[in-house]
């Protein structure tokens, strides 16, 4: 029926006692990434929810070395750590720069881009919850079309920035996307990335129950729907070539994904979908065509 424990990594490197909300997708993703990377890992985390809830002195959740940087420079700090290890002739060690979608797509984009361009041996993990959740749900470059945030009360009019493809266009050896609903796939991608020399990028869809307006128990279900409605394509790019795509044999209409979340409530007038829903369906259809889902 389902595989046994051998195929999953559970090392408790991201321990209990952190202050994330119940059902937090980012806490879930951070734990899966840390457990997959293993003990020989240094985490450089940008300012954001993850840093705030997991690292208050004196009881941080991290059981691996942890560096907190500014909002914009997690990638630069990670690059520095990597160079320092090289200079001291130490290692090898896994260096993972982590940040939210705000720090990745807006504030820290140039640091990440520079790190990619200089070719540091660093894995950059972006936990995408599609807005600035830590500061109170403001729109980011990664917020999808139609989303209601505190700065776009009528729904976001801009399209979501496609960071994974931007990262791939830097010519880096490995780019992948994942969601928290498939932990085997996510952990496999972390391990694959860490086995490759050079800059790598992993983009994880991590729902935020508070900001997205859904109950904590459906975090995984939302991710599954994001895949099944083709709103969030899951793929892997190696040396510029698409090597794997999560195929969706039975595609669901985007309404099923949107209706579960409070942030899309403005897309439905008394339960009937508005024209914006059709626009979002078009985006999903575009994904199907582009990624051959």
């Amino acid at each position: 029926m389902i595989d046994n424990l051998d195929t999953v990594e559970k090392k408790d490197l991201f321990a209990s006692g952190h202050r994330a909300c119940g059902g937090c997708g980012q806490a879930l993703a951070a734990r899966m990434v840390a457990d997959a990377a293993g003990e020989n890992t240094i985490a450089c985390v940008a300012t954001g929810c993850l840093e705030v809830f997991s690292s208050p002195y004196p009881d941080p959740s991290w059981r691996i070395p942890f560096l907190h940087s500014l909002f914009e420079n997690a990638a630069a700090v990670a690059a520095g750590v990597e160079v320092a290890y090289k200079a001291l002739n130490k290692g090898p060690v896994n260096i993972i720069a982590q940040g939210g979608d705000g720090s990745t797509s807006d504030i820290g984009f140039q640091c990440m881009s520079g790190m990619f361009e200089r070719g540091h041996n660093v894995l950059y993990v972006c936990y995408d919850n599609e807005a600035y959740m830590n500061t109170g749900v403001q729109r980011s470059g990664s917020t999808p079309f139609g989303t209601r945030t505190t700065t776009t009360p009528g729904g976001n009019k801009r399209l979501k920035k496609n960071i994974p493809l931007l990262a791939a266009d830097h010519g880096i050896p490995y780019v992948a996307t994942a969601t928290v609903d498939d932990y085997r796939d996510l952990q496999r991608k972390v391990k694959t990335a860490l086995s490759i020399e050079g800059p790598k990028y992993l983009h994880i869809l991590a729902p935020c129950p508070l900001g997205w307006g859904h109950a904590g128990d459906i975090t995984v279900q939302i991710c599954r729907l994001a895949k099944q409605t083709c709103i969030f394509p899951v793929f892997e790019i190696r040396e510029g070539k698409m090597i794997s795509v999560h195929k969706v044999p039975v595609k669901k209409p985007v309404e099923e994904y949107l209706k579960l979340q409070g942030r899309f409530r403005n897309l439905f007038k008394k339960g009937t979908p508005t024209a914006d829903v059709a626009a979002i369906q078009k985006i999903a259809d575009g994904n199907i065509e582009r990624f051959n889902l």
């Binding site: 029926m1 999953v8 209990s16 119940g22 975090t219 995984v220």
Partner: protein, 552 residues
Amino acid sequence: MSEKLPLGLALDLRNVTPYKTGSWRTQKPLNIMQTPPCTHGCPARNDIRGFLRTLAVSKDYEEAWHILTRTNPLPATCGRVCPHPCEEGCNRRDFDTPLDINSAERSIGDFGIENRLEHKKVITSERKEKVAIVGSGPAGLSCAFHLAKKGYKVKIFEAEGTPGGMMRWGIPAYRLPKNVLGREIESILKLGIELECNIKVGINIPMDQLMREYDAVFLGLGAQKGSSLNIPGDDARNVFSGVEFLKAVHSGRKIDIGREVVVVGGGNTAMDCARVAKRLGGNVSVVYRRTRVEMPAITAEIDEALEERIMFRYNTNPVKIVTDENRVIGILCMQMVLKEADASGRGRPVPIPGSESVIPADTVIIAAGQAVDYEGIDVYKRDNKWIDVNSQRMTSMDRVFAGGDAVLGLETVSAAIGQGMHAAYAIEDFIKNQTQNHLASPPVVYSKDLNTYYYQAANRFNKESVPVHIRLKSFEEIYPSFDRNDIITEAARCLSCGLCFQCNNCLMYCPDNAVKISPSTGMYEFDYDFCKGCGLCARECPCHYIKMTLER
């Protein structure tokens, strides 16, 4: 704290206890083993999930047999004749197709017979109380089995020369080979049960004597008497009642049935009579006054009878048996039409005037109802027909309990086994002067409770029957024995409703890392110091083993 701390640190991190986020919780997850629908539907309350998972995980037929025989002493028999109400409930029905539980049961039962497995006693010390069992049918055997396992002295009184009751005299060998039944009864008796045959209680030995000599008596009389239709000509030669006919055939008597055989009735006895008569070379038709939908017989039995080219005449009611020199030559029938439902919930058949016709017949078998033979046993009866028992399964006579067809009306082997088991519990409670509710069980899991995303579709086991033309030549069993590996594959389809099968979802989907593997049992347990009660584990649990409850 004597060690010097690194620069800038005021506290040694190693001495800090983590912040207990469990205090945020309003809901609490609990691991609760729930009742699967198969066990809920089984009259004998077999632990179906238990034996299927044992087969699937450890491929251990012996262990599976012991799990099954905890409740059911006749697995090979039930695996052949049970209409498997368990499969009706199977939650896989809403996913793809239900499991073939019946075939798995038969395969496990056959393994037990082949390897001469022996039943284990629950309590090994002997008890001094004695219990008399009247009748060695499924109810009596089951009651004796469960009492003997608890150390009681049990003696069975059987009116016939061999034990088995209706399983021996009613069910034909092509459904249940007699050696299978014999071997299963043998291993039940090995628990130290005494059996005395050819003793009819009430005639050879009075009820009073049993009640004096024993601490409790169980009546598993069965319904051994065929009822008559009370129509003109039903006393003619070559008119049999269903039970009479089957018993005659099974005890080896030669019966000349002639060419044309008409069976009246739509129950299991009617199907058995028709198929036996077909095997004896008759040209058989079944006459039933309602339609196929209302037939009380097991669906598979009707299907197999149809396959064997037995003619069914629905909406037909016999009015008169036409005789010539006291021999049957035909049966006069009227066509019926179904009107508004009667007390049984089925349409009330009303004759259509002028629709009389005669079906030619050399033999008429009337299998329309059976009754209990109460000779010498004076017990209060419901509707003047079936034994009346109270909630403790005791009859109007003190210390006399009852079960099986004599109480239920015409029912299945598994129902009788269940009755025998519950009567055994009741007798134990009565002897120990205690009250215990053995029926209490956790809530049932229905398919709406499951998260079927995690299951994969798989084809149901397909049992092959012997071709009809070969089947009809003898009384050989119509389903040859199954491949044990196929049964293991089938068992692996079990969804394990309501019981953890260690899929890791709760472990991996907890954002708070609050699900741990217990070092002692290897099962998952919650760390309530840190669980925030988000409910992700319960939502993603495929089998509904985790339940969210309100925090007090």
